[in-house]
């Protein structure tokens, strides 16, 4: 009687093994991507880099990658703020406008208004914090409208986007401040050599911002609350999280990040112009989405957005080096966005 019993046992065991194996390859990929949403974007980055290196031997060189990093520093920095907002299932269309407004505030205050009775500008140590405060105030206005007036973030920031653009144009009367920038405001445009790489301090500053945010999101209660609010706002509220306070803090921190991004902008273009940064809202959303963060909130990683921003930079740069027309570059990035969101939907469907 022992024999059949043993085989019975193995049969059950086999059935269990088969049940585990029944998760097909695609399901396993789905499960892995679900756990690590940035993996797909990292894979796209790797695949794109290898592909582009076949088309142009100059692509996979330290100097070219240094260039790409400098090009993505601004979008990358703004995308960091955009990420924490999107993690709460929000969106910020006013990010670029906030960045430009605070950069113009800094530049205008430092420069003063020569010839209009205000000869001397302000000290940079007053102007710079005030510029940052303007960014935080912009974020606070968005946060107030989202949490207290209870408007959808899309509508709120569509409105404030126009308001901040208008304020910027009023402040500058449509002109670019012509006077030389304060040296401190140009800090993030300086070059540093890191081995074979030659990058700007702005790139390092952006990476430092990402590292800090990654730490905060991963290891603090605030970070966990940001995810919880985006994941299921009612569950978060019932669990005793002050949902409005979390949302408000997210918009204010994002505003600060946009203002700090403006500092990178000034360093890179060496002037504060009301016209830079008009595309930053859509570009930053692109980076966040390609980086695997879900527009429905609660899922994603901050470093995914950095990878997303670099992917966009790599595509632009690689396609240019391969001699592809600008129109097709736009086409490629458009397809990439649709691909990224499709992957996100596919991953989410797995676990409903």
């Amino acid at each position: 009687m022992k024999g059949p019993q043993v085989s019975q046992d193995t049969a059950t065991y086999d059935a269990a093994a088969e049940f585990q194996d029944r998760a097909s390859v695609s399901q396993k990929i789905q499960a892995t991507l679900h756990k690590y949403p940035w993996l797909s974007s990292a894979f796209v980055l790797l695949f794109a880099s290898i592909t582009f290196s076949f088309f142009n031997e100059n692509f996979l060189t330290p100097s070219n990658f240094s260039l790409i990093l400098q090009q993505v520093a601004i979008v990358g920095a703004v995308a960091a703020g955009q990420t924490i907002i999107i993690l709460t299932a929000g969106i910020d269309l006013s990010c670029g406008a906030i960045a430009v407004f605070s950069s113009m505030t800094m530049a205008k205050l430092v420069q003063g208004t020569p010839g209009e009775g205000h000869p001397a500008g302000w000290s940079i140590w007053l102007a710079f914090p005030l510029g940052l405060a303007v960014g935080m105030l912009g974020g606070a206005i968005n946060g107030f409208l989202v949490t207290k007036v209870k408007l959808p973030p899309f509508i709120v920031t569509l409105g404030t986007f126009n308001v901040f653009v208008a304020l910027t144009l009023t402040l500058t009367k449509g002109t670019v401040p012509s006077i030389e920038m304060d040296p401190f405001l140009l800090t993030l445009g300086h070059y540093v050599n890191l081995g074979p790489f030659r990058i700007t301090t702005g790139v390092l500053f952006m990476i430092a911002m990402y590292s800090f945010l990654a730490f905060v999101l991963r290891y603090t209660g605030w970070g966990r609350h940001v995810y919880a609010v985006g994941d299921d706002i009612d569950a978060a509220r019932l669990a005793g999280i002050s949902v409005n306070r979390v949302l408000m803090s997210v918009y204010v921190v994002a505003g600060l990040i946009f203002a700090l991004s403006a500092w990178i902008v000034i360093g890179r273009v060496t002037v504060a112009s009301p016209n830079t940064g008009s595309d930053l809202n859509l570009d930053s959303i692109t980076a966040v989405v390609i980086g695997g963060t879900s527009l429905f909130g609660g899922r994603g990683t901050i470093f995914g957005s950095l990878i997303g921003a670099i992917i966009v930079g790599v595509f632009r740069n690689g396609l240019t080096l391969a001699g592809v027309d600008l129109y097709y570059q736009l086409l490629a990035i458009g397809l990439l966005i649709i691909f990224a969101v499709s992957v996100d939907q596919w991953i989410r469907k797995a676990r409903k």
Partner: protein
């Protein structure tokens, strides 16, 4: 057993515009008992427990917890006072893991400067404590405490929500339709959880539509009708048909036949 109720509601009234949800409702919960609250739709069950837990502010009436009058403004207030509520809608964040959900809103920080200055969470400590809470309730089916809640079945999710309430509830636990979204086997799990809560001496208020389940676990059954308490009976003195009759107004129970004092 002491005769003083741990939680008492006296003449609680709540209007939503012209709709009268509660019209002077009373309730008494005694230590160590499971009190079921049943009633037809719109009888004011949910509004009553929302007033008790702090999710709604009553227009009139008193809520007395442990002999002292309380007035909760937010769910957090009720929670701080020791009342834990498990909501019908499974108030868990699906993408977060079990340990994070258990400690959501009251995370543990690391000791020393890592916690006080860098505000770092004690993730391993929370995982360890969460595991203890889960196994204390005899929920053996959950193997991995760092599993995302969305990978769990409905019953397991409900178990996480109940475990959270049990872990932090100091005075009492309110369960709002805990089995409404669950299958037969999962409901059984939750009923077992309720029994193990009672065995540990935790008073429970159970809102339910499911008569067999109510009769299985409840010590006393409060029947709500038209925003008021119609009667309080016990599974021993009255049948399911009686309770339904009271619910619909077809039957009234004389005050002296009601179970207004603790039966356990």
């Amino acid at each position: 057993m002491s005769k003083a109720p741990i939680l008492q509601a006296v003449g609680v009234t709540k209007n939503y515009g012209r709709v009268i949800a509660l019209d002077g409702a009373d309730l008494e919960l005694f230590p160590g008992e499971v009190l079921a609250v049943v009633g037809d739709n719109g009888a004011g069950k949910s509004t009553l427990i929302k007033c008790l837990s702090g999710a709604e502010i009553p227009d009139e009436g008193q809520i007395i917890l442990d002999g002292a009058q309380v007035s909760f403004k937010r769910p957090q207030d009720g929670r701080h006072a020791g009342i834990e509520t498990v909501y019908q809608t499974l108030a868990v964040a699906p993408a977060l893991d079990i340990a994070s959900n258990l400690y959501l809103g009251r995370e543990m920080r690391k000791s020393g400067p890592l916690g006080s200055i860098f505000r770092m969470l004690d993730s391993s400590g929370m995982r360890k404590a969460a595991k203890e809470h889960i196994s204390a309730l005899g929920i053996g089916t959950i193997q991995n405490i760092s599993q995302a809640v969305e990978t769990l079945s409905g019953g397991q999710r409900q178990a996480v929500a109940v475990a959270r309430a049990a872990a932090f509830g100091q005075k009492l636990i309110i369960l709002d339709e805990p089995t409404a979204a669950l299958g037969v086997r999962e409901s059984r799990q939750v009923l077992k959880l309720i029994e193990s809560l009672r065995d540990r001496g935790m008073p429970v208020i159970l809102i339910s539509h499911n008569m067999p389940q109510v009769f299985e676990v409840a010590d006393r059954i409060q029947v709500q009708r038209l925003g008021k308490r119609a009667a309080v009976v016990t599974p021993k003195t009255h049948s399911m048909n009686d309770v339904v009759a009271i619910m619909t107004g077809a039957m009234t129970v004389d005050k002296k036949d009601q179970a207004l004092s603790p039966v356990r």
